[in-house]
């Protein structure tokens, strides 16, 4: 299978190809090669550790955007017993950049909303690269409110390069749509679990990202602006995105250090793009565990805790000097 390979993954991918080749040769020609194969496999394991434990922030951003990375619907398909997608904001239209619907993860009935990217060129355009318009945020809110009415927890999967900047988006109130979601999500009386599964860029991500718990898959990023956007402003050169990623500290570990993130969800070796099934299985497990805990909390306390959780976020100096 031909697939997209990031520069820093290449040595490992090539080694894996060699191992695969040897295995096939050994089997087809009935030649004993197990010792050599084992040696190479050991080498591959070491190489993989070398690469993936020393990833720079920018490399993690690239993994978060990997063209083979599982998207919202890839996870939904693997995690749910059933999923009924609902469309439209009942005011203007349907936004394919956000998916919203109702389903069951094992016996847990949940509302799931998430940004959706496309894989082929045609799909990418259809999904607008996962960049929502106002009607996407409003569709998500419609689904979340319905979930709340029937006491169903909400799971939000974040994966967007940002809210769409365009004339129509502004005309239809991009800012209002995001603000409204922040307002409403902060006091919905059901558990809300937010998970960054790819990219979490700015208000476009946060617009479906206010909840009781925030989790991030290991190789994802979340910040106020994309590293390219930040670099374009500060260095007048979007090619310095690697520097911007370091300056803004955008990775899951960084957000844990900033006390924004509650937990990092590990990915299959080498990243979620290398094993969609396993990635979804890990995600599913994490969702079920978190919901089990959140469901114990009475609604009014849930809301109070949620507001206080955000109330604590940030760093400032209160000394009188």
């Amino acid at each position: 299978m031909d697939r997209f390979v990031l520069e820093f993954e290449r040595p490992l991918i090539e080694l894996e190809k060699r191992i695969q080749g040897m295995k096939e040769y050994s089997r087809d020609e009935d030649v004993e090669m197990s010792e050599e194969i084992a040696k190479l496999e050991e080498k591959a394991l070491k190489l993989s550790k070398d690469i993936y434990t020393k990833l720079t922030r920018w490399q993690k951003v690239q993994l978060a955007r990997h063209p083979q990375r599982p998207y919202t619907l890839d996870h939904i398909q693997r995690m749910t017993r059933f999923f009924i997608e609902v469309h439209g904001d009942r005011a203007y239209g349907d936004d394919p950049a956000i998916v919203a619907g109702f389903g069951a993860i094992e016996d847990e009935h949940v509302v799931i909303v998430g940004h959706q990217k496309g894989r082929t060129t045609k799909e990418k355009l259809y999904r607008n690269f996962g960049m929502p318009h106002p009607e996407g945020f409003r569709k998500a809110l419609k689904a979340m409110k319905l979930g709340s009415k029937f006491h169903r927890p909400i799971v939000c999967l974040l994966d967007t390069p940002g809210a769409h900047p365009g004339i129509g988006a502004e005309e239809r109130g991009q800012a209002e749509a995001i603000a409204r979601n922040l307002f409403e999500m902060s006091h919905l009386p059901v558990p809300i679990l937010v998970i960054v599964i790819g990219e979490g860029a700015s208000g476009g991500a946060l617009g479906i990202g206010v909840g009781d718990r925030l989790l991030m898959l290991e190789n994802t990023w979340y910040s106020v602006i994309s590293p390219e956007g930040c670099a374009a402003i500060l260095w007048r050169d979007s090619a310095r995105a690697d520097l911007a990623a370091d300056a803004m500290k955008v990775t899951s570990q960084d957000l844990l250090d900033m006390k924004i993130l509650d937990k990092i969800i590990p990915e299959p070796a080498g990243g979620a793009h290398r094993d969609h099934d396993k990635a979804a299985a890990i995600l599913k497990q994490a969702i079920l565990e978190e919901l089990e805990q959140l469901k114990q909390i009475p609604p009014e306390i849930l809301i109070e805790n949620r507001i206080e959780k955000f109330g604590k976020m940030g760093f400032w100096d209160e000394s009188y000097t």
């Binding site: 809210a163 991009q174 603000a179 922040l182 208000g203 955008v250 955000f310």
Partner: protein, 297 residues
């Protein structure tokens, strides 16, 4: 969301013009040259074309609140460079310089005040402090002000002027959008009024949080209001933007702000709104005397 670019580029010239040695100023809209004292008297509204020039936060306090009624709180809260952010300059240095140049600790002033004897919690942003950007301190001060509204059962008024979230605080600044909105939701659930006043310019994370959440949303005329900055949109779509795009009037026509009030009529209209919301006046001895002595009564 690169709204920051345009706004940070836009700070310098205007600030220079506001310096006391510049006795004469040029209206950005109609090029009219106006004597500064004249402008001051006219609330920084162009005498010829009515353009609302950017005005310091302190001036809003002066023109909207009753004399001497403002009691600032949380003025001492200062920004810290939690991320040790370094690009071409260090955030830490930028903060130091800005505090020195503006005489403010951050981009919002919060406190109690009175509008024609109606007590309110009053917040006003200042674009001269790093483009009015919202970092942890702006978020915290808005949240604290909202809590004061809740505690004292007072209406909340926020005057926005901001280029958006403060990039130098990364995800911490993004979370301030959620933080402020969450407290405003709580305020709303308790039935307390929140008046949002949007001034030129207000874009990005501030528009996409508390600015757009007022029970009533007022804008000054001709203000730039939007989510994405016009330059970003222009770059993205590769074509010129329509005339009047993202102005107060554009937002009014598209249904996203409730009303436009000029600076001159703002205080009077706010008073009527507070009356409508059923807020209680609190007469000080002085104001009672004043109204007793008023020749109109």
């Amino acid at each position: 969301m690169a709204w920051f670019k345009r706004s940070s580029a836009g700070i310098a010239p205007q600030e220079k013009k506001e310096l006391p040695n510049g006795l004469w100023l040029k209206c950005e809209k109609c090029d009219e040259i106006i004597y500064q004292k004249e402008l001051d008297r006219n609330l920084w509204v162009c005498l010829k074309c009515g353009y609302h020039m950017r005005m310091k936060s302190k001036m809003y306090i002066k023109i909207l609140l009753d004399d001497g009624s403002f009691e600032e709180f949380n003025a001492h809260i200062k920004s810290v460079d939690a991320l040790k952010f370094k690009a071409q300059k260090r955030y830490q240095d930028q903060l130091k310089t800005t505090v020195k140049n503006t005489g403010m600790n951050d981009a919002v002033i919060t406190g109690f005040g009175k509008i024609n004897s109606y007590p309110v919690v009053f917040c006003v942003m200042d674009f001269s402090f790093i483009g009015g950007s919202m970092g942890s301190v702006v978020g915290e001060k808005i949240a604290q002000a909202t809590k004061q509204s809740i505690e004292k059962k007072l209406p909340l008024i926020i005057i926005s002027a901001s280029g958006g979230a403060r990039m130098m605080e990364g995800a911490l600044s993004l979370m301030q959008m959620a933080k402020t909105s969450a407290y405003i939701a709580k305020l709303s659930d308790l039935g307390l009024p929140y008046i949002s006043i949007i001034t030129n310019p207000t874009t990005g994370g501030v528009t996409a949080s508390y600015s757009m959440l007022g029970d009533i949303i007022i804008a000054e005329p001709g203000a730039l209001i939007g989510f994405a900055g016009p330059r970003v949109i222009k770059q993205t779509i590769g074509q010129d933007l329509p005339e009047g795009f993202q102005t107060s009037e554009f937002l009014l026509n598209h249904g996203f702000i409730d009303v436009i009030f000029t600076r001159t009529e703002m205080k009077e209209k706010l008073t009527l709104l507070l009356e409508f919301f059923g807020c209680q006046k609190e007469e000080t001895d002085e104001s009672q005397e004043a109204s007793e002595n008023s020749p109109n009564e």
